[in-house]
Amino acid sequence: MADLIKQIEKEIQGLKFKAQKENVGAVVEVGDGVARIEGLSEVQYSELLDFGQGVYGLALNLEQYSVGAVIFGDFTKVKQGTEVKTTGKILEVPVGEALVGRVIDALGQPVDGKGPVKEKTHYPVEKIAPGVITRQSVDTPLQTGIKAIDGLIPIGRGQRELIIGDRNTGKTTIAIDTIINQKDSGVICIYVAIGQKISKVTQLVAKLTEADALKNTIIVVAAASDSATMQYLAPYSGCAMGEYFMDQGKDVLIVYDDLSKHAWAYRQMSLLLRRPSGREAYPGDVFYLHSRLLERAAKLNKEHGGGSLTALPVIETQANDVSAYIPTNVISITDGQIYLETDLFYAGVRPALNVGISVSRVGGAAQTKAMKQVSGRLKLDLAQFRELQAFAQFASDLDPETRTQIERGRRITEVLKQPAYSPVPVEEQVVALWAVTNGYMDEVEVDKVREFEQKYIAQLKLREKKLLGEIASKKELDEKIIKLLEKSAKEFAESFKRVVKKGTSKNNG
C-alpha cells in the first residue's frame, strides 16, 4: 500500500500541467442510444466522444454543423444540452491473457462477477485487415471434432467458414463443439454472442465449464437486452481481442453468433442516424460492415509470427432462404459454408448438415493426409448415394450394384451422425470413416451401424492404442497402418456379426 502511494506521489510530482484545449459540442437530440450533437467542429470519424458521467460514444455521422454519434452504455444519463468533448482517441478494448476464461461485454468490461480485468494492453476496435505481404495460404487444419465437417468440409486455420441455417438447426452446437474440441489444442477461442438471450449465454458458459473448455475461451456478450450500439460493436471487439493473440503467433478461433442480428442492430443504428436506407431497409454499407470484419481473419506468414485467426460466422436464415440479402452477402465474403437443414434435423440427421450444398473453398489444402485418404472415397460414395437416393424405395427392382451403393450411402450417413457436445478426435474419425468406406459396415444393419462404430473404436482404444497413436502422429495411412486396420476391422466385423446373430436367435427363442 505504501509503495502504491509513493508511486502515485512520484507520478503526481512528475506531472506537467498544461492548459487543456478541448473541442466541445452540445447534445441537441438523443434517443435509442443515438445522439445528435452540435459543435465538435474538429471531431474525426470514429473518434471516441466523452459525454461525461462515464458515458462514451462514437462519432459516426459528420455533417456540416452537427455530428451523429452512438452512445455506449447507459444513454439515459445523456440529456439535451449535455456537453460532449472529443477525446482524440479511437475506440479501444483491453486485450491479453487476463481476458481468457472470462465473460465480458463489448467494451471489454467483465460481466461474470469475477472481478476487474487487469489488462494494460489495448487494441483498436476497428483495424485494417492484414495485407497481402503478411499473409500466407491456409495450410493447417482446425479440427472441429465433427466427423461430417472434418471429413467433408474441412476448415483450415485462418479460414472463414459460414455456418448457415434456420432457427433450431444446431448452428450454435457446431460452434460450441468446435470450441470444446480446441480445449487441449492451444487454440484460443472467442465466442461473440450478438443479440442472444442471456439465458442461452448462461447455458453456454455452463456447457463450456462442464467440458473444461472455458479455460481457453473468451466470451463477448452483447445480449438482446443490450443497446443496438453494443451489439454492433461486439464482433469488432472480439476480433480485436483475437488479433492480439494472432499477433503473438497463436492460433485463434472466433465465432460470431450471429451476424444476422448484427446486421439488424446496424440497421437500427443507421436508421436512427438518419442514413439513407437501401434494400430491406439496410444501409448501403451493410456489405462493408461484414466484409471488413471477416477480412480480419487471416493466417500470417512465419515472418509475421505465423499466428492465425479463424472465423466462424453464423447466419440465421428465414424459411431456408439463403438468397436473402444478408446471407448472400456473407456467403460471398466467406471461404465456404456449412449449410444446416431443418428437414434433416427432424429426420434425425444430427448435425443436420446438407453435405451437397456445404462447401469449404480452402480447407481441403489444410486437411491431414490421413483424412484426405478416407474423405476422397467418402465424398464419391455420398455423391452417388444422393443421386440414387430417389430410387431407394424401389430397392427390390434395382440391380445389385445400385443397391450396394444405396446401402453404403445409408451407412455412411449413420456414421456421420454425432451427438451434440461430443467431438471426436481426428484419428478416431479416420478409423470410423475408413471402415465404412471400405465396406466393413456393409453387412451391419443400418440401425446397428452406430453401435458397431462405437464398439469398434472402443476396442481399438483398448487393444490397438498404438495404432490410433500412430495415425494421430503420422497423420497419414501408410501400408503398414492400412494392413493393421484391415485386420482389426475384419476381425471386429466378424465378431460383431456373431454377437448380433446370437442376440437375435436368443430373442427369437
Binding site: 507520478e11 503526481i12 500541467f17 487543456q20 484545449k21 478541448e22 473541442n23 459543435g39 467542429s41 474538429e42
Partner: protein, 131 residues
Amino acid sequence: MKKSKLLRKTITKLVEASFKDGKTVESQVSRSITMLKTLPKYEAIWALTEYLKELKRKQRQHTMYIETVIPLSPIQIKKAKRMVEKKVKITKVLTAINPGILGGFKLRVGDEVWDESLLGKLNQIRKVIRN
C-alpha cells in the same frame, strides 16, 4: 422535408453577407429576412429558421465566454481578449462566475474550450492516478 441544395447555399451566402469583421450588419440581416419572406410559406419558415440558426452559430464563433470564480477586472478581460484575438476576431465578451471550477478560468470561443481551472487540473491528476 428535403430542401433544395440551392436554397441551403443561398442561406449560407446570406449569413456570410450579414457579417463584417466578426460583427453582424443589421441592415443586411433585415434585408436577408425580407428576401427570405418572399419565398413560398413552407419554404420561408424553414429558410428563416435555418438562417437564424446559422447566424447564431456564426455569432458564437466571435463570442468569448469566460468562467471564473471571482469577477475579472476590465484589464484582465482585455488581456484575455487580446490573446484570443491572435486566432479569431472577438466581437462580444461574456463573463460568468462559476464557483464549481474552484479556481483559475475556463475560456470558450465557438467549439473551443481552454481549461485553466483548478478543477481541470484535479481531473488531470485523477486521470494519472486511475491509469
